[in-house]
Amino acid sequence: MNENPMDEVRLSELLRELPPAPEAWVRAAQERPAIARAADQVLELAEADAQFRRELIADLEEALRAAGHEPDPRLVETLRRRLPEG
């Protein structure tokens, strides 16, 4: 394409190394702060309410439903990581 075509051939190969990730994946990752805020609320509640905390540890998804939270898989996964064992 110019006096040193190999440079640009290599550049074009490198550009092709980074196709976009699926849009839905990107969107879901971008929603992470909202999920984290929801997790913070649940954990604050668990901190203040020992019974709710025991229910969360025993059956996370059911405890979330009972508390009026949709057990979004990303919320569940975040809480599993952040809740101490037992």
Partner: protein, 191 residues
């Protein structure tokens, strides 16, 4: 930094990290946008199936979000994300019966070469951020999204006959920008 009409292209990785840490949702969206291709490419280099690749992708960004406060050097965000993604890919492969971790020297060599090419490609993407929005768009559509001249012409309202010359011109600018940033020549072919 307020999130309104922000041109993130001129904002450094470290500044994006600092804005994320300050709780700016727009900065987090930019961080995900900026590194999503990198994380995706690493999952591809490890040849994860789609389900595992998506799980690793989401887990990587979840951990970045949770541990961003512990990052000691904001400039080191890219190597940190790369290391984290590679570790999660290997964990996923170890847990999978179908896709064992590459264990022959040939397989490891292939993986190392793929990952090195991905890292080099990210440096090219960083150089691309210094180009005009028009150049970034046309290069991205043609090379990264594999769109045809006709598709690009329709989307950008350009005659298809002008697309090739515009791509060539932008690629030339990218080469200058890349060499100016890194002092490296992509002509070496070393990945």
């Amino acid at each position: 930094m307020t999130g309104t009409a922000m041109d993130w292209a001129s904002v450094s990785d470290a500044e994006v990290v600092r804005a994320c840490r300050a709780g700016e949702d727009a900065a987090w969206r930019e961080l995900v946008e900026r590194f999503s291709r990198y994380v995706f490419a690493i999952t591809r280099a490890h040849r994860l199936d789609e389900t595992d690749a998506e799980d690793v992708f989401q887990e990587t960004f979840a951990r970045i979000y949770e541990h961003l406060g512990r990052l000691r050097d904001d400039e080191a965000i890219r190597p940190w994300i790369g290391q984290l993604t590679r570790r999660l890919c290997i964990d996923r492969l170890r847990a999978s019966v179908r896709d064992p971790v590459p264990d022959t020297s040939q397989e490891r060599g292939e993986l190392d070469r793929s990952l090195a090419a991905v890292d080099e490609a990210v440096s090219v993407q960083e150089a691309m951020r210094t180009l005009s929005a028009d150049c970034r768009e046309i290069l991205d559509r043609f090379f990264c999204r594999d769109q045809s001249y006709n598709t690009i012409g329709e989307l950008l309202d350009l005659p298809p006959g002008t697309i090739a010359s515009r791509i060539s011109r932008c690629l030339g600018k990218l080469r200058v920008a890349y060499e100016g940033r890194s002092g490296a020549s992509p002509a070496s072919g070393e990945a």
